[in-house]
Symmetry: C2
Subunit: 406 residues, 2 copies
Amino acid sequence: MMISVQEAQGIILKGIKVLGPEVVKLENALGRALAEDVYSNSDIPSFDNSAMDGYAIRAEDVRGSSRQSPKALEVIGDIKAGDVPKKTVKGGQAMRIMTGAPVPRGADAVVMVEETEKPETRVQKPELVKIFKEVEKGENIRKAGEDIKRGECVFQKGARLTSAHIGLLASLGQAEVKVAKRPTVAVLATGDELIDVDEKARPGKIRSSNTYTLLGEAASCGAIPKNLGIAKDDPGELAKKIRKGLGCDILLTSGGVSVGDYDLVKDVLAGIGTDIKFWKIAMRPGKPLAFGTIKDTLVFGLPGNPVSSMVSFELFVRPAILKMLGQNDDKGEVDAVIGEDIEKKAGIRYFLRAITRWDNGNFVTNTTGPQGSGILKSMALANSLIVLPEEVEKAEKGDKVKVRFL
Amino acid sequence: MMISVQEAQGIILKGIKVLGPEVVKLENALGRALAEDVYSNSDIPSFDNSAMDGYAIRAEDVRGSSRQSPKALEVIGDIKAGDVPKKTVKGGQAMRIMTGAPVPRGADAVVMVEETEKPETRVQKPELVKIFKEVEKGENIRKAGEDIKRGECVFQKGARLTSAHIGLLASLGQAEVKVAKRPTVAVLATGDELIDVDEKARPGKIRSSNTYTLLGEAASCGAIPKNLGIAKDDPGELAKKIRKGLGCDILLTSGGVSVGDYDLVKDVLAGIGTDIKFWKIAMRPGKPLAFGTIKDTLVFGLPGNPVSSMVSFELFVRPAILKMLGQNDDKGEVDAVIGEDIEKKAGIRYFLRAITRWDNGNFVTNTTGPQGSGILKSMALANSLIVLPEEVEKAEKGDKVKVRFL
């Protein structure tokens, strides 16, 4: 039973719930997803303040002012940022004010310092300032609540926190923030041929790259990766190592899910009680993929080919992790002009590793070379996947194709 | 002296050298930049192996095979993945072979199992397999060195390591990897009006958001952030706290770099020996920006307005960090259709916070609303900046404009 990419994604995402919340310190919240809507308990800024260094005045007092005929106002004091002004600006008066300082009572505008003549310092009062320009009511004043109003919903549940979010939460006085827990993702590579990165090379053996690509991908999505190492093609050992991953939210295996006599993973998963929903997807690379659940753990039996397992992760595991985090998968597709001819089989969705760049008003895309599913270098070079849908039989140089960035 | 954005970037980047290397474990190398070219010390894969489960045969033996007239070959053994085949396939012979297993001597192609009839298990020899299809020499064989050849330069110095890179380094047996050191970035907010996120709100005071946006931005670029807290507008305190950042590669201050009487940061920086190269850039937001060096520390006196300081970071500090990491700043600009009219002053480069999305074959961009430099929410909502160059005087709805993604 071979199902489409879309059907497979639908089946996987259907049962997933957002993980419960946890409270983290603001400085540790970067990249996390909000577990609740955030409302503001105050106006931001919380008081009218000056957007400029200059003089707080009454707009009506400087009507008609110009370089040629300046108005002179009496300076009754200074307001620095952080001060609380105690005086009131009355007709004919001004107060010197710094950027960010509260606008004093009575004043309704600020004239920037460059449009004034600094009064000479002298012992005698009154100190006078000449104003060279008319201003409108409200000019150069940042109104209380201009950025955010008290009671406003500032960010919605599921928002992924960037540094701008973190800064705004700091403005609101949120030293802690409630975010969705990070899912744990266990990774188990399988196969008698596999050795680990630090083992001595031996004839017939290859180093497990999937262990490291999958741990890296899980971390990149915001999950907590857990390395279960390598299991031999032995049902007992497989079952034992798979069980170690069942405390995690997601268990990934790689290898052993094809039709071969030694492709044991699917059988072992079924044997320990996995409810396997499907195990073949109409795509290239990545056809074999056993997906199921065992208690609360999502189990993905990914293919052993390095590229197949990475593309499968991108299309199926990544959206699952993001859904657990309460985030939407924000990756859309763009259109690009393809620079080469591609032959394909109808009925199967192709994902070609590609370099896509913006060139003179269009995206232009080219494959990274040979597309064998063992060729990991093609994936390291790529910044994108060219997506050729099921019904397409070929793409020709100059055609518009869909591209998904990695 | 007001200089252009490009001049400012040139001055900042000119003196920067890549930081020295350090060795990290492969599993900790995600996101780091290579400090040296990586060459392969072996072919990947290191031996010819089967891309399919099937039978390793000699292509000439199955010439003319079809469903109607299959050829029968003698099965002389099994090769599992991880095995080292000891037998040689001679004329009329085949060996059962699993995906990833080494191709035996004598064989020059693999027929996939679906194109054969599985021999009945029987005690008598010889065991025969029927082959239903012709194959070409080399078919279904992954050749040694197909992905990477021994001695090949696999990745170049400066490459930012993604999970595909990490996987490929694992294939090469690199349990450790030499990467560029992460720069340290100290952040000091300044201003009598500032209180920290966990302090009690007081009249005239605002919470320092820049502390958290700048720490977050530094971490996002791959630097190690260090929080120096808040300094009052007092020359002695400022000098003392600034000195605490001088062991770092980069020191960021925010606030106190305008023309006002209490904008002390520039003077204090100069007073403790900073060689200030410029302090005004023809841009909006973000005009005031004091840049200089003191011994080996790059010092950026960023503006105090939350949006100005973030945009300044993006344009000037980020490229500096990436250069220290040995990475190129890979952010290009794309063209987008703007959805509204924008007025601007000639001679100044504008950066408008915007949401840009792919819509029906084009990027379409709209500002996030009011663009006041205190309005941090506009930055949190944005995924991009609309860049309007110096010479432009306005943009009209429907015009093509340049956009830089954040």
